[in-house]
Amino acid sequence: MNTVTNNSVNLQSLSDEDVMEQLQAGNMHAFDILVSRFKDRLHNFLFRYTHNHEDCEDLVQETFLRVFKSRQSYTRIAKLSTWIYTIALNLAKSMYKKKQRMSTVSMHADPSDPDDFEIAIEDTTILQDEQLHQKICVEQLEKALHTLNDDFKEAIILRDIQQLTYEEISEITGSAMGTVKSRINRGRIQLQEILEEYSLQETF
Protein backbone atom coordinates (compact mmCIF):
# COMPACT_ATOMS: atom_id res chain seq x y z
CA MET A 1 0.00 0.00 0.00
CA ASN A 2 1.47 3.38 -0.96
CA THR A 3 1.76 6.34 1.38
CA VAL A 4 -1.15 8.28 -0.13
CA THR A 5 -3.56 5.37 0.21
CA ASN A 6 -2.27 4.70 3.66
CA ASN A 7 -2.79 8.36 4.58
CA SER A 8 -6.29 8.38 3.16
CA VAL A 9 -7.33 5.31 5.15
CA ASN A 10 -5.92 6.77 8.34
CA LEU A 11 -7.35 10.21 7.77
CA GLN A 12 -10.82 8.91 6.94
CA SER A 13 -11.13 7.37 10.37
CA LEU A 14 -10.06 10.53 12.22
CA SER A 15 -12.35 13.15 13.73
CA ASP A 16 -12.66 16.50 11.92
CA GLU A 17 -10.42 18.10 14.53
CA ASP A 18 -7.73 15.44 14.12
CA VAL A 19 -7.84 15.82 10.34
CA MET A 20 -7.35 19.56 10.81
CA GLU A 21 -4.37 18.86 13.04
CA GLN A 22 -2.90 16.79 10.20
CA LEU A 23 -3.40 19.70 7.82
CA GLN A 24 -1.74 22.07 10.28
CA ALA A 25 1.18 19.66 10.41
CA GLY A 26 1.56 19.89 6.65
CA ASN A 27 -0.36 16.83 5.41
CA MET A 28 -2.09 18.38 2.38
CA HIS A 29 -4.20 15.29 1.78
CA ALA A 30 -6.06 16.23 4.97
CA PHE A 31 -7.51 19.22 3.15
CA ASP A 32 -9.12 16.94 0.54
CA ILE A 33 -10.74 14.99 3.36
CA LEU A 34 -12.16 18.18 4.87
CA VAL A 35 -13.48 19.26 1.47
CA SER A 36 -15.21 15.92 0.97
CA ARG A 37 -16.76 16.09 4.46
CA PHE A 38 -18.00 19.68 4.31
CA LYS A 39 -18.72 20.47 0.64
CA ASP A 40 -22.37 19.31 0.66
CA ARG A 41 -23.14 20.72 4.10
CA LEU A 42 -21.76 24.10 3.07
CA HIS A 43 -23.66 24.10 -0.22
CA ASN A 44 -26.90 23.30 1.60
CA PHE A 45 -26.21 26.09 4.09
CA LEU A 46 -25.01 28.81 1.73
CA PHE A 47 -27.63 28.20 -0.95
CA ARG A 48 -30.20 29.69 1.45
CA TYR A 49 -28.30 32.97 1.23
CA THR A 50 -27.43 33.05 -2.47
CA HIS A 51 -30.51 31.42 -4.06
CA ASN A 52 -28.43 30.52 -7.06
CA HIS A 53 -25.99 27.69 -7.58
CA GLU A 54 -23.19 29.69 -9.16
CA ASP A 55 -22.91 32.21 -6.32
CA CYS A 56 -23.32 29.40 -3.83
CA GLU A 57 -20.40 27.44 -5.26
CA ASP A 58 -18.33 30.61 -5.34
CA LEU A 59 -19.00 31.17 -1.61
CA VAL A 60 -18.26 27.54 -0.74
CA GLN A 61 -14.95 27.78 -2.63
CA GLU A 62 -14.18 31.03 -0.82
CA THR A 63 -14.94 29.36 2.52
CA PHE A 64 -12.51 26.52 1.78
CA LEU A 65 -9.88 28.99 0.64
CA ARG A 66 -10.21 30.85 3.96
CA VAL A 67 -10.08 27.58 5.87
CA PHE A 68 -6.86 26.69 4.07
CA LYS A 69 -5.25 30.09 4.46
CA SER A 70 -6.21 30.42 8.13
CA ARG A 71 -5.57 26.81 9.07
CA GLN A 72 -2.91 27.71 11.61
CA SER A 73 -5.30 30.02 13.49
CA TYR A 74 -7.73 27.21 14.33
CA THR A 75 -7.46 25.94 17.90
CA ARG A 76 -9.21 22.92 19.30
CA ILE A 77 -11.26 25.00 21.75
CA ALA A 78 -14.06 24.98 19.19
CA LYS A 79 -15.41 22.13 17.08
CA LEU A 80 -14.00 22.36 13.57
CA SER A 81 -17.50 22.42 12.07
CA THR A 82 -18.38 25.43 14.25
CA TRP A 83 -15.25 27.25 13.06
CA ILE A 84 -15.99 26.49 9.40
CA TYR A 85 -19.66 27.51 9.69
CA THR A 86 -18.58 30.77 11.32
CA ILE A 87 -16.34 31.55 8.34
CA ALA A 88 -19.13 30.61 5.91
CA LEU A 89 -21.74 32.68 7.76
CA ASN A 90 -19.51 35.77 7.78
CA LEU A 91 -18.90 35.40 4.05
CA ALA A 92 -22.62 34.93 3.41
CA LYS A 93 -23.45 38.05 5.42
CA SER A 94 -20.91 40.14 3.50
CA MET A 95 -22.23 38.90 0.18
CA TYR A 96 -25.85 39.45 1.28
CA LYS A 97 -25.13 43.06 2.28
CA LYS A 98 -23.36 43.68 -1.02
CA LYS A 99 -26.31 42.25 -2.97
CA GLN A 100 -28.81 44.31 -0.96
CA ARG A 101 -26.92 47.47 -1.88
CA MET A 102 -26.93 46.45 -5.54
CA SER A 103 -30.61 45.44 -5.68
CA THR A 104 -31.81 49.04 -5.57
CA VAL A 105 -30.84 50.94 -8.68
CA SER A 106 -31.31 54.67 -9.00
CA MET A 107 -32.47 55.41 -12.55
CA HIS A 108 -32.31 59.24 -12.33
CA ALA A 109 -30.72 61.22 -9.56
CA ASP A 110 -32.99 64.24 -9.59
CA PRO A 111 -34.47 64.91 -6.12
CA SER A 112 -36.57 67.83 -7.42
CA ASP A 113 -38.49 65.56 -9.76
CA PRO A 114 -41.49 63.99 -7.92
CA ASP A 115 -41.68 61.26 -10.51
CA ASP A 116 -38.08 60.35 -9.90
CA PHE A 117 -37.82 57.46 -7.49
CA GLU A 118 -35.69 54.42 -6.90
CA ILE A 119 -36.77 51.21 -8.50
CA ALA A 120 -36.18 47.99 -6.66
CA ILE A 121 -35.30 45.33 -9.20
CA GLU A 122 -36.27 41.90 -8.01
CA ASP A 123 -35.22 38.59 -9.37
CA THR A 124 -38.39 36.89 -10.61
CA THR A 125 -38.89 33.40 -11.87
CA ILE A 126 -41.52 32.55 -14.43
CA LEU A 127 -43.03 29.18 -13.71
CA GLN A 128 -42.99 27.03 -16.80
CA ASP A 129 -45.42 24.44 -15.52
CA GLU A 130 -48.49 25.22 -13.41
CA GLN A 131 -48.63 21.63 -12.23
CA LEU A 132 -45.44 21.91 -10.26
CA HIS A 133 -47.23 22.56 -6.99
CA GLN A 134 -44.47 21.10 -4.89
CA LYS A 135 -41.96 23.36 -6.58
CA ILE A 136 -44.13 26.37 -5.79
CA CYS A 137 -44.34 25.35 -2.13
CA VAL A 138 -40.58 25.02 -1.93
CA GLU A 139 -40.07 28.33 -3.70
CA GLN A 140 -42.54 30.07 -1.39
CA LEU A 141 -40.79 28.69 1.65
CA GLU A 142 -37.36 29.70 0.33
CA LYS A 143 -38.74 33.16 -0.46
CA ALA A 144 -40.30 33.48 3.00
CA LEU A 145 -37.02 32.42 4.56
CA HIS A 146 -35.26 35.09 2.52
CA THR A 147 -37.70 37.71 3.83
CA LEU A 148 -36.98 36.96 7.48
CA ASN A 149 -34.93 39.28 9.64
CA ASP A 150 -31.24 38.26 9.37
CA ASP A 151 -30.90 37.09 12.98
CA PHE A 152 -33.99 34.91 12.75
CA LYS A 153 -32.97 33.59 9.34
CA GLU A 154 -29.51 32.42 10.38
CA ALA A 155 -30.86 30.76 13.53
CA ILE A 156 -33.56 28.94 11.55
CA ILE A 157 -31.17 27.82 8.80
CA LEU A 158 -28.57 26.56 11.25
CA ARG A 159 -31.15 24.69 13.34
CA ASP A 160 -33.87 23.50 10.99
CA ILE A 161 -31.87 23.01 7.81
CA GLN A 162 -28.36 22.27 9.07
CA GLN A 163 -29.57 20.50 12.23
CA LEU A 164 -26.88 22.01 14.45
CA THR A 165 -27.19 22.01 18.23
CA TYR A 166 -28.19 25.15 20.14
CA GLU A 167 -24.66 25.27 21.61
CA GLU A 168 -23.09 25.26 18.14
CA ILE A 169 -25.49 27.94 16.87
CA SER A 170 -24.75 30.02 19.93
CA GLU A 171 -21.00 29.82 19.20
CA ILE A 172 -21.34 30.47 15.47
CA THR A 173 -23.60 33.50 15.85
CA GLY A 174 -21.96 34.78 19.02
CA SER A 175 -25.34 34.96 20.77
CA ALA A 176 -26.49 33.60 24.12
CA MET A 177 -28.28 30.27 24.04
CA GLY A 178 -31.54 31.80 25.31
CA THR A 179 -31.40 34.36 22.50
CA VAL A 180 -30.81 31.62 19.93
CA LYS A 181 -33.82 29.64 21.18
CA SER A 182 -36.02 32.70 21.21
CA ARG A 183 -34.97 33.60 17.64
CA ILE A 184 -35.73 30.11 16.39
CA ASN A 185 -39.12 30.16 18.07
CA ARG A 186 -40.06 33.60 16.81
CA GLY A 187 -38.56 32.96 13.39
CA ARG A 188 -40.76 29.90 12.91
CA ILE A 189 -43.86 31.89 13.85
CA GLN A 190 -42.90 34.69 11.45
CA LEU A 191 -42.31 32.21 8.65
CA GLN A 192 -45.79 30.82 9.16
CA GLU A 193 -47.26 34.34 9.08
CA ILE A 194 -45.40 35.17 5.85
CA LEU A 195 -46.65 31.96 4.23
CA GLU A 196 -50.19 32.79 5.32
CA GLU A 197 -49.83 36.19 3.64
CA TYR A 198 -48.66 34.54 0.41
CA SER A 199 -51.62 32.23 0.58
CA LEU A 200 -54.03 35.17 1.02
CA GLN A 201 -52.40 37.01 -1.90
CA GLU A 202 -53.01 33.97 -4.10
CA THR A 203 -56.66 33.82 -3.03
CA PHE A 204 -57.43 37.40 -4.14
Partner: protein, 82 residues
Protein backbone atom coordinates in the same frame (compact mmCIF):
# COMPACT_ATOMS: atom_id res chain seq x y z
CA UNK B 1 -50.92 36.45 16.55
CA UNK B 2 -49.74 36.83 20.14
CA UNK B 3 -46.04 36.31 20.67
CA UNK B 4 -45.15 35.23 24.18
CA UNK B 5 -41.77 36.89 24.59
CA UNK B 6 -41.70 36.58 28.40
CA UNK B 7 -42.26 32.85 28.47
CA UNK B 8 -40.49 30.90 31.07
CA UNK B 9 -37.44 29.15 29.59
CA UNK B 10 -38.97 25.77 30.40
CA UNK B 11 -41.99 26.52 28.24
CA UNK B 12 -39.76 27.76 25.43
CA UNK B 13 -37.75 24.55 25.59
CA UNK B 14 -40.95 22.47 25.52
CA UNK B 15 -42.23 24.50 22.59
CA UNK B 16 -39.02 24.04 20.60
CA UNK B 17 -38.93 20.30 21.29
CA UNK B 18 -42.64 19.96 20.46
CA UNK B 19 -42.09 21.64 17.08
CA UNK B 20 -39.14 19.32 16.38
CA UNK B 21 -41.20 16.32 17.54
CA UNK B 22 -38.55 15.36 20.07
CA UNK B 23 -40.63 15.29 23.27
CA UNK B 24 -40.91 11.87 24.92
CA UNK B 25 -44.36 10.41 25.63
CA UNK B 26 -44.65 11.80 29.15
CA UNK B 27 -43.48 15.26 28.15
CA UNK B 28 -45.83 15.24 25.17
CA UNK B 29 -48.82 14.33 27.37
CA UNK B 30 -48.05 17.12 29.84
CA UNK B 31 -47.44 19.68 27.10
CA UNK B 32 -50.55 18.68 25.13
CA UNK B 33 -52.62 19.25 28.26
CA UNK B 34 -51.13 22.69 28.61
CA UNK B 35 -51.87 23.42 24.94
CA UNK B 36 -55.50 22.48 25.45
CA UNK B 37 -55.97 25.31 27.97
CA UNK B 38 -53.67 27.89 26.34
CA UNK B 39 -55.00 28.80 22.88
CA UNK B 40 -52.22 31.33 22.19
CA UNK B 41 -49.54 28.79 22.98
CA UNK B 42 -51.42 26.18 20.94
CA UNK B 43 -51.36 28.44 17.88
CA UNK B 44 -47.62 29.01 18.31
CA UNK B 45 -46.99 25.30 18.70
CA UNK B 46 -49.05 24.39 15.64
CA UNK B 47 -47.33 27.06 13.54
CA UNK B 48 -43.92 25.92 14.66
CA UNK B 49 -44.69 22.26 14.02
CA UNK B 50 -45.98 23.04 10.52
CA UNK B 51 -42.93 25.15 9.66
CA UNK B 52 -40.46 22.61 11.02
CA UNK B 53 -42.00 19.88 8.87
CA UNK B 54 -41.92 22.19 5.84
CA UNK B 55 -38.28 23.12 6.40
CA UNK B 56 -37.33 19.47 6.76
CA UNK B 57 -38.95 18.79 3.39
CA UNK B 58 -36.75 21.33 1.59
CA UNK B 59 -34.49 19.65 -0.96
CA UNK B 60 -30.88 19.14 0.15
CA UNK B 61 -28.50 21.17 -2.00
CA UNK B 62 -25.27 19.36 -2.85
CA UNK B 63 -22.03 20.28 -4.54
CA UNK B 64 -22.19 20.00 -8.32
CA UNK B 65 -20.02 17.33 -9.99
CA UNK B 66 -16.44 18.48 -10.51
CA UNK B 67 -16.51 20.79 -7.50
CA UNK B 68 -13.18 19.52 -6.12
CA UNK B 69 -11.44 20.09 -9.44
CA UNK B 70 -12.79 23.63 -9.76
CA UNK B 71 -11.72 24.36 -6.18
CA UNK B 72 -8.24 23.00 -6.85
CA UNK B 73 -7.92 25.18 -9.97
CA UNK B 74 -8.98 28.26 -8.03
CA UNK B 75 -6.58 27.48 -5.21
CA UNK B 76 -3.75 27.06 -7.70
CA UNK B 77 -4.54 30.50 -9.13
CA UNK B 78 -4.99 32.28 -5.82
CA UNK B 79 -2.36 30.61 -3.68
CA UNK B 80 0.53 30.76 -6.10
CA UNK B 81 3.16 33.12 -4.64
CA UNK B 82 3.48 36.26 -6.76
Amino acid sequence: MTIYTDYDQVITDYLLDYCEESLDDTELTVFTELLSIEPGLRREAQSGLFICRKLKSLPQIKAAPGFEMRLKNRMKKELVPK
